[in-house]
Symmetry: C2
Subunit: 223 residues, 2 copies
DNA sequence: CGAATTTCCAATGTATGCAAAAAGCGTTCT
DNA sequence: AGAACGCTTTTTGCATACATTGGAAATTCG
């Protein structure tokens, strides 16, 4: 038995939730796709109860949308919604960076440096890049030491990634990412909250423009 | 039968969740109090399924804490946690105010004015004051037209209210609230996002100092 | 008398049964 | 041919049964 991959979660519902979030993040579950309790049951070989748990949590966090009756589909990220996500991300990421600058211990700085070093090595594909990117930002959330920041920032990250599901196939690794991360790290190392906040703001905004541009292209020239 | 009070929710789980959140907000459920599925079943006369739904959602939103095994208690808000709540609130409330200033229609302004007028009439007790206060801020969240802001701001509001559960009996209606609200309204009416953000920041910070002061008093002189 | 252990019980995790509502679909009527 | 109607099938909402885990209490030993 056992669930093959993934880290051992204590409860099935939790495990299903985590796996579903990953599927949503990496685009395996495309926007507007239908998701039913039954589909999760078969996909993860669990009963309806844990499946329901995961679905309801994903719904309340905005990853899923309910269509008329209780049926659910993967949330579609149109432009208005993308703007909402990035307005919120800017506020939360800036706060995270500012708090991290105030609170980072030497051990935290070492960890961040290691991630930066990995990023400097260069990545072969989008997946690797996204993984390192995630490590960097999640690390900052953790250093901020604020559970609300962590929780919300994680959700917004995945939500923003879902935009890629709307613009699939585009390789959006960009050089500015490394420079931005360096700037954020420097500010954190210096304990300069204002600078960290500003660097984070720049970083979020660049990502915003890039993602929105992709989304607009697709909207202009659809099927 | 039917559920006596409250607005008609379509699903039992939703209804239980809403009622629980209200009980948490108004302090009926005190911090550190145990909450079990069974207790909700009896309290709202539903089966375990909707009770579980509500509990898990409340848990994931930080209103409840799990103790060792899956048992849950009402989250206790110590000082560190209060600081987390207010750090986050500042970011989110400022964003809400800024967005509201950008987007408010005349109808929105009229609604805000009406609430302000109600507040100017004065309130006899804490409950009335809190209700009007809630209306004002919820209205701004709505005007911001950002579901992430709305969702997170609501959660943070209730979480901050839970601090009152830790400091019960204190009547914390204060004169500055009306002045602050007027300032926020003015900025929104003028479409001045920066001013709205700054007014909101002042407002949140005043609330923060007040609440933290109460919490400190109680911590210094406990049982 | 206090501490450790064992036993019992309560609460949660999971699965499933039942009924109602909704979607899908074919048929029929205009 | 298109639209409207009714039936079937699927899916969800709610309730409950079963098993397992963790805690509390009572008992026993030092």
């Amino acid at each position: 038995m056992a669930s093959s991959n993934s880290k051992t979660e204590d409860s099935l519902g939790e495990a299903v939730y985590a796996k579903m979030r990953e599927l949503l993040r990496n685009g395996t579950l495309a926007p507007a796709e239908r998701v039913s309790e039954q589909s999760l049951c078969k996909l993860f070989d669990v009963s309806r109860t844990p499946a329901r748990e995961a679905l309801q949590r994903l719904l309340s966090e905005g990853f899923l949308t309910t269509t008329g009756g209780g049926r659910m589909i993967v949330a579609t990220i149109d432009i208005a919604r993308a703007e909402e996500i990035y307005d919120m991300r800017e506020a939360v990421e800036c706060l995270a960076a500012r708090l991290a600058a105030k609170r980072a211990q030497t051990a935290d700085l070492i960890e961040l440096r290691a991630i930066l070093a990995d990023q400097e090595k260069g990545q072969d594909n989008e997946t690797e890049f996204l993984a390192i990117n995630d490590r960097f930002h999640r690390c900052i959330y953790r250093i901020s030491n604020n559970r609300y920041v962590q929780h919300t920032a994680e959700i917004l990250r995945v939500s923003a990634e879902m935009i890629r599901g709307e613009t699939k196939g585009r390789y959006d690794y960009d050089a500015w990412s490394l420079d931005d991360h360096r700037a954020i790290y420097e500010a954190i190392e210096n304990g300069d909250g204002a600078a960290a906040e500003e660097a984070a703001r720049q970083h979020v905004r660049r990502g915003r423009f890039q993602r929105l541009a992709l989304l607009l292209e697709r909207t202009d020239a659809p099927a």
